[in-house]
């Protein structure tokens, strides 16, 4: 497939400032905490100090007597009047409510909500709520949770096992029996998350006159209005979620459904606006946004020449105390289960386990980054086993560009790619020979240094078919997105989108696409957000889907506007539309450019001159476009083969790390990321997400962990324990662009919202291991903290002595 010329597009791919930026740099963003509703009250929470306990009694008398207090709500009333939040997998007894009722299942779980005139008064009163607990046995370790006799997190479910299935795609056992070599090892992904700088917040207001509950929230979640309404036992049209709230970062985690149901209930009950803004401890401990926490038992069968024949992956994931969507984070990786490699037989055994920890929530990549890490550790281990160059091994097993579209054993078809070219380009950009020299010089000078490589896929397009794969009772195969385009009487264009944004630049995306199709200046195009009662259907910006889905929807609506304009001109020129040419918003007769109707004239006919409007064209000038994810819509086969995402971007990471042998402290010396996400609509935005994704990956690989003590307490409840990389830890990075267009999308674009994060942890882990190799040491668990690295160095030295 050819790389498109830049000139093919007028605005797409060109440098363009983001439309959103001016309001943010001037302090005029409108985040949820900035919304002040008249008479608004504030919520503070009483949280469980125990990992597991029976609630014996709650005495709210003293709290209710405190100044400014309106209400102390407990689980007994709340759970009787609301329904459980959605349970993704088929586990109906694993119900989940915002407030604990009778029993708490993790330290930090909300036990009561106090509403007062100010947050400070609510916190004062929350300290006066007397809760008597009877501690129960708890389990924190996921393997212990699976052992017979383990304390049960949800006794009604009968087990701590939430989901398990063994998929076998292709002749796995045959390959393992006949291959020349086999390796087995365990890779461990530590519990971390994307932890946005803005905590989750929500404000709600019940209007008894209209019977509408208005909600402003810091959200990024599919079906959020619907789920809120269901849990509150309200019809969908009684909940109005305002999408014009700026979201201060999300990267998957801003779900906040339990917060919203709680605040919605309180606002309706009390008849006053109520808001809950998490403080940082609530966010880290009880905000239900910790990410995957899993180990991978990896087995590979391969030949002496490096050909990988088969792979077995057993992935055991700790979802914490409740289910939600978290088990599905084991399902998405099915769509890229063999990575960029032509591995013909794969066994995959996802296992989802409950423990007495904070519930897991969606995190950037939805489980793909941990899987990529495990696969890439495996590739490096195969290379080490064979004494083969890691790059050669990858090149040997890469799917070749002439093999696309390429169907992997688990049933997904990769749309396009050129992995060899991207890797080679990245090696050239970072000057691999000099990288090797730098590593070897550092080693000869007595320092530890290593080069890390990872090459992996970035599935995009957000068709959440892992739901139907993992829950046979779920037949949801529709994952549409939409856009409405209006051209008003003045000729100004407005794009209406149906979701909130957390920095992805959707206003820039839509204005660029509309400008491209309609050949109008994107600068002058406004993009607004419908609320959930006026919105067209959307599945929100998850799964790197918006460049594809919202971009495609905007293009579809703009094309319809363009067709209408051509039809109006054809009617007025009394000629067939094929004789006409659209340019810059005007329509002229081919070969007679002086015979034309300009944009303003066409708009005026559409709005005001019905006598000049052709039959069958609706007056006014507006168009909507709703579309389903390309290649989506099917149920899985009985063996669990399914097309999940439509588009597959590729990234190749190269990193040089030096380690201080005395402290175990790593320092990233050089970083390059080759990236092919097809046609970029706004390169600055794509690069920005990639840089940010790499920074997240650095955090997950080296610093960030939600550690728990033996007694089930979160030991990382502040930013002094949960370590987010700063500009001192994140190095300067180089991004190397490549473009293999997707044949499935409007402009050849693929998604890129999870870029960088999907390959950085793997590359860093491989670099640390390359650095440790001369000592004979290896680490396969993330995060590779200074201490973990130092321990590996120290034990290898002791062994040598």
């Amino acid at each position: 497939m050819s790389v498109p010329e830049k000139s093919q597009y007028r605005y797409i791919g060109a440098k363009r400032r983001a439309k959103e930026h001016p309001r943010f740099v001037s302090g005029r963003g409108r985040f949820v905490a900035d919304i002040a509703l008249p008479g608004m009250k504030h919520v503070a929470l009483v949280a469980s100090p125990h990992a597991a306990a029976r609630i014996v009694s709650i005495d709210a008398k003293a709290a209710l007597a405190a100044p400014g207090v309106l209400c102390v709500l407990t689980g007994e009333e709340f759970c009787a009047n609301t329904d459980s939040l959605a349970i993704g997998v088929d586990a109906p007894k694993v119900t989940r409510f915002a407030l604990a009722n009778g029993v708490v299942r993790y330290a930090g779980e909300w036990v009561a909500a106090v509403v007062a005139d100010s947050r400070a008064l609510a916190e004062d009163a929350a300290e006066r709520v007397e809760v008597e607990y009877q501690p129960l046995p708890h389990v924190i370790d996921l393997e212990k949770a699976l052992a017979p006799g383990a304390p049960l997190v949800h006794p009604a479910h009968g087990s701590n096992l939430l989901y398990q299935r063994k998929f076998v795609w292709g002749p796995v056992e045959e390959a393992f029996a006949s291959a020349e070599h086999r390796i087995a090892f365990r890779a461990v992904w530590g519990r971390s998350a994307t932890v946005p700088i803005e905590t989750f917040g929500v404000a709600a207001q019940w209007d008894a006159g209209t019977g509408i509950l208005d909600i402003w929230a810091s959200i990024q979640m599919p079906k959020f209005p619907d789920q809120t309404a269901r849990a509150l036992r309200l019809p969908g049209n009684a909940v109005r979620v305002h999408h014009d709230v700026d979201v201060g970062g999300s990267y998957g985690v801003k779900r906040g459904i339990k917060h919203t149901v709680l605040v919605g209930y309180l606002a309706k009950k009390l008849g006053v606006p109520v808001r809950l803004i998490e403080d940082r401890l609530e966010n880290l401990r009880g905000g239900d946004m910790q990410g995957p926490d899993r180990f991978f038992d990896m087995q590979l069968a391969f030949e002496g020449d490096g050909t990988i024949r088969a792979m077995k992956i057993r992935a055991v994931d700790d979802v914490g105390a409740y289910a939600g969507r978290s088990p599905f984070q084991l399902g998405k990786p099915v769509t890229a289960i063999c990575g960029p490699y032509a591995i013909h037989a794969v066994e995959y055994e996802p296992t989802s386990v409950m423990t007495n920890k904070t519930p897991q929530e969606a995190v950037r990549g939805f489980g793909q980054s941990p899987t990529n890490f495990a696969i890439e550790r495996a590739i490096d281990r195969v290379a080490r086993h064979l004494g083969m160059d890691r790059l050669e091994l990858r090149r040997k097993n890469f799917i070749r560009k002439d093999q696309f579209p390429y169907t992997i054993p688990s049933g997904s078809t990769y749309d396009s790619g050129d992995y060899h070219a991207v890797l080679d380009k990245t090696l050239a950009a970072i000057d691999y020979a000099s990288l090797l020299r730098a590593r070897d010089e550092a080693r000869s000078a007595g320092r530890l240094a290593g080069i890390g490589i990872s090459s992996c896929l970035e599935p995009s397009g957000g068709n959440s078919a892992f739901e139907v794969l993992m829950n046979p009772k779920n037949e949801n195969t529709t994952w549409m997105d939409s856009c409405l385009v209006r051209v008003d009487l003045s000729g100004a264009i407005t794009g209406v989108i149906n979701n909130s944004s957390a920095g992805q630049g959707h206003e820039s995306l839509v204005s660029t696409v509309l400008g491209e199709i309609l050949e109008r200046d994107p600068e002058a195009i406004r993009v607004v957000r419908a609320d959930s009662l006026t919105a067209l259907p959307s599945n929100s910006p998850v799964g790197s889907r918006m460049a594809i889905m919202l971009g495609g929807a905007a293009a579809g609506a703009a094309k319809a506007i363009k067709e209408t304009l051509i039809a109006i001109a054809a009617h007025n020129f009394e000629c067939p539309p094929e004789d006409l040419e659209y340019r810059d918003g005007g329509v002229s007769l081919k070969g007679a450019p002086e015979k034309k109707l300009l944009w303003d004239q066409l708009v005026e006919i559409a709005h005001r001159k019905f006598h000049k409007l052709p039959a069958g064209i609706e007056p006014g000038l507006q168009a909507k476009f709703v579309w389903e994810v390309p290649t989506g819509g099917a149920l899985p086969t009985p063996e669990g083969r399914i097309q999940i995402y439509p588009c597959y971007a590729f990234e190749a990471h190269l990193v040089l790390i030096e380690i201080d042998p005395d402290t175990g402290k790593p320092a990233i010396r050089k970083y390059a990321c080759g990236h092919d996400c097809g046609v970029m609509i706004n390169p600055d935005i794509v690069h920005g997400m990639t840089f940010g994704g790499i920074a997240h990956g650095i955090g997950a690989a080296l610093y960030e962990k939600f550690s728990y003590t033996e007694d089930g307490q979160l030991a990382a409840g502040t930013f002094m324990d949960y370590l987010i990389p700063s500009a001192m830890e994140v190095p300067a990075m180089a991004i190397v662009d490549h473009c293999t267009p997707s044949p499935l999308t409007t402009f050849g674009q693929k998604g890129s919202g999870e870029a960088g994060y999907l390959g950085a942890p793997a590359a860093i882990a491989n670099a640390i291991n390359d650095a440790l190799e001369p000592l004979g040491a290896a680490i396969d668990a993330l995060p590779m903290s200074h201490l973990a690295i130092w321990n590996a160095i120290d034990s290898s030295r002791k062994k040598a002595a």
Partner: protein, 161 residues
């Protein structure tokens, strides 16, 4: 519990503001909730993330770690005070837009404060000095690269004037 109120008088973005506040009210909450200067953001409330950075007499400080009463008699500059007198964007603000030095915009006001304080003191910073100056401000979107570029661009543009 009735709270004793204390008089404060602070020059905020060039304007003198007086109020009666409880001792425990943070400078951050006073700016946001009472003066409605919501450009300064709440991030961690324990002094790590820097989202609440404001300038106090020209130096960047954490508004979450200061009480409003402590700011009395001082000059405070928030992100709303960074624009030029005519309301248009400052060189630094414009540079952030140019290099895509932000995504969600949440850490941005604090970053701008930290970076502006650096540029006021050092018009020609090295990359290492820029990283050091913003090292106390966490960003989860950008990986800092385009922020560093923005500060470099602003320095270059300011010097060229």
């Amino acid at each position: 519990m009735s709270e004793t109120l204390h008089a404060v008088s602070v020059e905020v973005n060039g304007r003198s503001r007086s109020a009666q506040v409880p001792a425990r009210l943070s400078l951050l909450d006073w700016l946001r909730e009472e003066l409605r200067l919501t450009g300064t953001h709440v991030g961690c409330e324990h002094g790590i993330c820097g989202a609440c950075s404001v300038m106090l007499d020209g130096d960047p400080v954490r508004a979450c770690l200061m009480y409003a009463v402590q700011a009395s008699g001082h000059r405070v500059t928030t992100v709303e005070g960074l624009a030029r007198p005519d309301g248009s964007m400052s060189v630094l603000q414009d540079s952030f837009c140019e290099t895509h030095g932000l995504q969600c915009g949440y850490c941005t006001p604090g970053m701008l404060i930290a970076a502006q304080a650096l540029l006021n003191a050092n018009p020609d910073p090295t990359e290492a000095q820029i990283r050091d100056a913003i090292g106390g401000n966490l960003c989860r979107c950008t990986g800092y690269q385009q922020i560093v570029e923005a500060v470099q661009l602003a320095a270059e543009r300011t010097r060229a004037k």
